[in-house]
Symmetry: C2
Amino acid sequence: MINSNFLSIDEEKKERILNAAMKEFAQKGFDNASTNEMVKEANISKGLLFHYFGSKKELFMFLFNYSVELFSNEFYGKIDMNERDIFELTKQSKIIKLGLINKYPGIFEFMQSAVTEASAKVKDEMDSMKNELVSAGFNKVFENIDTSKFRDSIDASKVLKVIEWTFEGMLEQELRKARFLNKKVEVEKLYDKADEYIEFFKICFYK
Amino acid sequence: MINSNFLSIDEEKKERILNAAMKEFAQKGFDNASTNEMVKEANISKGLLFHYFGSKKELFMFLFNYSVELFSNEFYGKIDMNERDIFELTKQSKIIKLGLINKYPGIFEFMQSAVTEASAKVKDEMDSMKNELVSAGFNKVFENIDTSKFRDSIDASKVLKVIEWTFEGMLEQELRKARFLNKKVEVEKLYDKADEYIEFFKICFYK
DNA sequence: ATGTGATTGACCACTCTGGTCAATATTTAT
DNA sequence: ATAAATATTGACCAGAGTGGTCAATCACAT
């Protein structure tokens, strides 16, 4: 009887709980994350958290599963697998990322801190989760990119890296700016900015 | 009589203490950082840490001062202020960054977490430190870049951003790789890789 | 031997921990 | 209107960990 009906509760409350827990885990790691802080931030009672999840460890593993599932559903649901244009693909993947961050502000920080989590109390479970993940085999999407439009004199693999780093850097910049102003990044704005750089790149890289 | 003669102790021991403390503060923030963890990691006794720094708060402020001073000394000491070539400048600044990370693995994480530190116990001190820093006026170095070599059809400000994001992404990639293999990034390797991308960029951006 | 400064770690009063569970509030069925 | 069922609370617990202290020990120069 683990987190039985948590998934069917009020959406807003659910997000409050998930976000509070992810934020706390991401900030302090498993051992130092405080369930008291989580319930304070989520505005629920201590008892309710443990009613839903049983223990801190189960909460942590649920969160990790939930995050990974959410991410892969969003990613493979929204991305167009037949798209061979590198710009469209990169743009799509960053927009998906932004959408998730807007809904769950700490989700990527949490996932990253979870895979590098060192606490002995969750090591075994995390190791087997990670094994499952690598054998699932991510990111075949970027494998059959159309490189025929690029100028012959330039190295296509470098083009791909530069595009990836540029859009990641752009997203990070916008996230920092938004965090500073205490707002969310507007997807539209990022879209326009991305398009600007795509035009720029076409001038630089295309024949 | 604050941290009296700490600066003159054995260099290796000094680094052990600084690194342990920066790591702990960066990972958990001021309130949740444990001085017990620090002395365990640095392999010194509890008493010695407090003999040098008096209190957790003084240790934190000392670390921040020390980091900022170190960074600005390295930066303005090593960077060639007359260099107007964007590639040389960016390469230099990333090499300086790598050098510091190799010596103090957690220094940038610590500085970043320190400026965003929310604990009430250090808020006042950090606020005045931050004010001092902005009035010092950083980063005039990248202001008089020579853009005359760029093709006229492309936007110079975008070129600068792409270069910055590319080199930052490259450094991050190498750091992750090194962390995974439990090694340090070799400065030489990064140098070569940076040069490869500089050649690539010259083909793309130059007339 | 003696003096001196560097270094130790057991100890303190106190806060916070994950988790429990009887009590209460709220919703649903009759 | 009542009863039954479910959702939610928060005071409470034993134990762990906290920043900081200080008498005692160590290493070494004279």
